[in-house]
Amino acid sequence: MYKIAIKDLNTLFSKIAEEQELILPIKKAGQYNFGVYEEGCDIDGILTNKTVKSGKDAFFPQFETLYNVRKKITPADELENGEEAANTKIRTKLTIEAEALKDKDFVIFGMRACDVKGVEVLDQVFLTDPVDNYYKARREHGIIVALACHEPEESCFCTVFGIDPADPSKSKADVATWIVGEELCWKPITEKGEALTKKIESLLASADDSAVDAEIANITSIMDKLPNTKLSLEGWGKGKTDEKFNSDVWQKIYTPCLGCGTCTFVCPTCQCYDIKDYTTKDGIQRYRCWDSCMYSDFTLMAGGQNRTSQVQRFRQRFMHKLVYFPDRYDMYSCVGCGRCVDKCPQSLNIVKVIKAFENEQKEAGANV
């Protein structure tokens, strides 16, 4: 266990950024978002405020180029006989240039336990067969420095999913950190974490492992007081497809849903993407970008399928998180970060959905 004064964080950050890219929460136009560290960027309040988007972009960016296609034309003077000059087929060649994979290490600082769990969810999808090379490369080169939640908010409910926001060292992070008084405690967990620590050792002072005990206890007690941490997941999970899919609760609660992608895009675990082509100056760029199952044109096929109404789309998102994903990977794909709870324009969210089903069950029970 190490420690560093919080007032010296900027020195730490620039030291890390010297050797590799550093991604961390940055304050920009009044909002906290993960971004690349630059000299002079605003890091005021980044230790205690929740970012709008999760850190998922670091491994699975909202937009990324997959490859470029270009057309090459053989000049007339390189032709063997004149007749070929007019034959476009002979003279045209298409070349495909794949985008290079991430090949340099980078550090992502300030992820919370829930965010790290989110990465774990993404791993299930992208690192199992068929493996997503772009994601895999980023994952291999990324070093996660997680931060314990000093001030959990009322929208937080990660503990419901068995996540401990007080102790990121239990997560899949490479380094765990805590705010203790005026200092940041730093604890490498993995080899990658150790290596990073070594590079910056000169800035760190050593500390006792017990230094963070009080902070862990404090966070745990705060979590206990938060309203949503008592949420019950009974009735969700593996094997509940038919029961939940056919429930009429969806119809009752979906109406306010605007079909926007806010919940999807702030979510640490949503992993759907669309692949599109863009005509550039001299070729075609194939890229992928996040997509939202809430959008009316999500996986839209020529025949008008897949989901034609907003209630279907609405159901899909929550069924995926709470039923389908557990079915397939044996874990929920919600991590209780509360971002959708904070950001939904219509104040609709996964907590309300779970509660609505709970009420329904209670009422059904009362009626029997």
Binding site: K71, T88, K281, G304, Q305
Partner: protein
């Protein structure tokens, strides 16, 4: 995927001198969709066209790009050429590499590069072209004239003489309009009735003309060639087929003697009975009962006219009748009126009966008028010895009191009035206050000079500020003589105001029904001020007479003839070809918000409840529908449409964006 052929023209040396034609061919060959590229000395020549036709056949081309002169020059030629080879003519695009490239650039490399870019844009566009078909719509061979004044009469006669059926709708009980109120006409001093009445009779007797007098247009639907017009025939209370026009009823109507109902025709200078013909020569010569004033209709008592009618034609039970008739063309000839003078208090028009308007003077001088043609003051029935004419009353006035335009006819009719008065009563003293005397017409200035030189009418350059009725019955006129720089205070017996003309009040309603546009002054707008002066921008609507702008009788008659020719030209066609580059609405995307209809200058967009079926959609809702016969393809609707539902065929959103893209490559 299209199979496009690109043909680059040398145009002799016009293009080839600055553009490396061979290089253009070499570079565009590899554009997407291009399967063939060639150049030729003169693409538009017979041989050049043969080459194109041969290539279309040999390479099975589906689209053509011709890099040559401006499409305004030869687009039609190349389209016809494509059609000859069995290709849809709208699969042809022209890249303008002469007027907009070779002729303006000197640097060969630069010009060649630009030519390639222009060609690429055209190729990109053709890739998205779709075959378009010219539509056809049938033509109903019948015309409607709204308004039965001299403009309407002349238009109707000319169309009817050409062998087409014409209907005239006139609001008043008789046709004839303003001209029938006039005494003489300038500059020849013909008697107005003498030249108008025969025409009115001719209209009445013409086998191809149907008259709807005392009738109004209630509603118009349809489009050029196919209008459906609802006409309300107001109840006349007199059976048209039974009435002989003997006039007994008018003479016996008790209200006639009471003198309470002012005659509209005589501008209130005398009264009329409740059952009346507006004037003796009315066509049709059938009276109407004015139900507002008729004692029978007010109290249920009287019934004199029915009792004395020798042919039992009076029918109190008659009701308004609405007929719907189909027309191929509509002419608006709604004419004019003079402005209300209430706002010009300084001229004392409402204070003194001896201050009159020029139209009232016409009635006073007309032999069939209230005074039998004897000019007298309405106050004391004495003959005026001194008369002041005031010009430009409400004309050329830029505030809300009057009209900003020149009424055009006043200078001439005032000269006419002055001379006629001097002719009859030579010792009358006449002063005309004018701002400018405008006489641009054949024999017009001569006419005006005669008033000055021969009749010694006193023309004063200046305006009258105030007319003050005096206790002795005379009028004190305060004006100015600008040339003498003196203020004039002058006693006179009568003041005649040349009040500004304005379009008939009803025109606004009619224009709305027809979706014909009107300007700020309610005059109907022409399709093009210079080149299409008798057509409305709305197809199938034509303009005749004062409704379009101030004009005198000869001008009105010639415009009437012109409108008639345009109508005949339209009716002579069995089918109308419609421009295929029209707007098209995709009901899947249409919100039915009406934005497009608000900007359409042709009223070509209507809304209907349609069943919309598509992926995940099956509902009935309000969507825009473009009438291809009316749409002229301006595309205003497409840029107004927020959802992109409205698109223009031949210049679609994607076609233009793809041109932008390829230019910016």
């Amino acid at each position: 995927m299209q199979r496009i052929g690109v043909f680059v023209c040398h145009c002799g040396t016009n293009i080839a001198a600055t553009v490396d034609v061979k290089k253009v061919v070499e570079l565009v060959r590899f554009e997407p969709g291009v399967v063939f590229a060639d150049d030729y000395m003169y693409m538009c020549s017979e041989a050049g066209q043969e080459k194109i036709i041969a290539a279309i056949k040999e390479h099975d081309l589906t689209g053509l790009v011709i890099c040559s002169c401006s499409p305004r020059m030869h687009e039609k030629t190349f389209r016809a050429c494509a059609e000859k080879a069995g290709l849809n003519p709208y699969m042809v695009e022209v890249a303008n590499i002469r007027e907009q490239c070779s002729w303006i650039h000197k640097d060969r490399e630069e010009a060649t590069e630009k030519a390639v870019i222009l060609a690429r844009a055209a190729i990109a566009k053709v890739n998205l072209n779709t075959p378009l078909q010219e539509g056809e719509s049938p033509v109903t061979k019948r015309a409607l004239i709204i308004g039965g004044g001299i403009a309407g009469i002349q238009t109707a006669l000319d169309i009817a003489d050409a062998g087409y059926e014409v209907d005239i709708v006139e609001r008043e009980p008789s046709i004839g309009g303003r001209m029938s109120q006039f005494d003489k006409t300038f500059p020849t001093l013909d008697c107005a009735s003498c030249i108008l009445t025969p025409k009115m009779v001719e209209v009445n007797q013409h086998p191809n003309i149907t008259l709807y007098t005392y009738s109004e247009v209630e509603g118009v639907s349809g489009y050029v060639g196919n209008f459906d017009v609802k006409i309300r025939k107001k109840a006349r209370s007199v059976d048209m087929s039974a009435c002989t026009g003997c006039g007994e009823c008018q003479a016996k109507c008790p209200l006639g003697k009471m003198g309470k109902i002012p005659s509209e025709f005589d501008r209130g200078l005398r009264t009329r009975p409740a059952i009346y013909m507006p004037f003796a020569q009315a066509v049709p010569a059938v009276p109407v009962i004015d139900r507002e004033n008729c004692t029978y209709f007010k109290t249920g008592k009287c019934g004199v006219c029915a009792k004395i009618c020798p042919s039992k034609a009076v029918n109190y039970e008659q009701e308004d009748e609405i007929v719907t008739v189909k027309y191929g063309a509509i002419v608006v000839a709604t004419g004019f009126d003079i402005i209300n003078l209430d706002k010009f208090g300084e001229y004392a028009y409402n204070e003194s009966p001896d201050v009159i308007t020029s139209i009232e003077l016409e009635r006073l001088m007309n032999a069939s008028g209230p005074t039998g043609g004897h000019l007298e003051r309405m106050s004391d029935h004495k003959q005026p010895k001194d008369i002041v004419f005031i010009q430009c009353v409400g004309s050329r006035c830029d505030d809300e009191k009057g009209k900003p335009y020149c009424s055009k006819v006043c200078c001439m009719y005032t000269a006419k009035h002055a001379m006629l008065i001097k002719d009859h009563w030579p010792d009358t003293n006449i002063t005309v206050f004018y701002i400018d005397v405008r006489t641009p017409g054949k024999n017009f200035d001569e006419f005006y000079r005669r008033a000055v030189e021969q009749y010694h009418v006193n023309y004063v350059k200046g305006q009258v500020g105030k007319v003050i009725p005096q206790p002795d019955g005379s009028l004190l006129v305060q004006g100015v003589d600008l040339l003498d720089n003196k203020q004039i205070m002058k006693k006179t017996d009568m003041v005649v105001l040349a009040a500004a003309v304005e379009p008939n009040k009803g025109v606004r309603k009619i224009a709305t029904m027809l979706t014909a546009s009107i300007d700020n002054n309610d005059f109907l707008t022409e399709a093009h001020a210079k080149l299409r002066p008798v057509e409305s921008p709305t197809a199938g609507i034509f303009l005749s007479g004062m409704a379009q702008g101030p004009k005198d009788i000869p001008e009105t008659v010639s415009q009437a003839g012109a409108a008639a020719v345009k109508v005949v030209g339209l009716l002579a066609k069995d089918k109308l070809k419609t421009n295929p580059c029209t707007a098209k609405c995709d009901p899947m995307f249409c919100n039915g918000c009406s934005t497009c209809a608000n900007v359409c200058p042709y009223g070509a967009i209507t809304y209907e409840d349609q069943q919309v079926r598509g992926p995940g959609v099956n509902e009935t809702r309000r969507v825009a529908v473009v009438n291809n016969a009316l749409c002229q393809g301006c595309g205003a609707c497409t840029s107004a449409c927020p959802s992109g539902a409205m698109d223009l065929q031949g210049f679609s959103n994607r076609q233009i964006t793809t041109e932008v893209d390829s230019i910016c490559r």
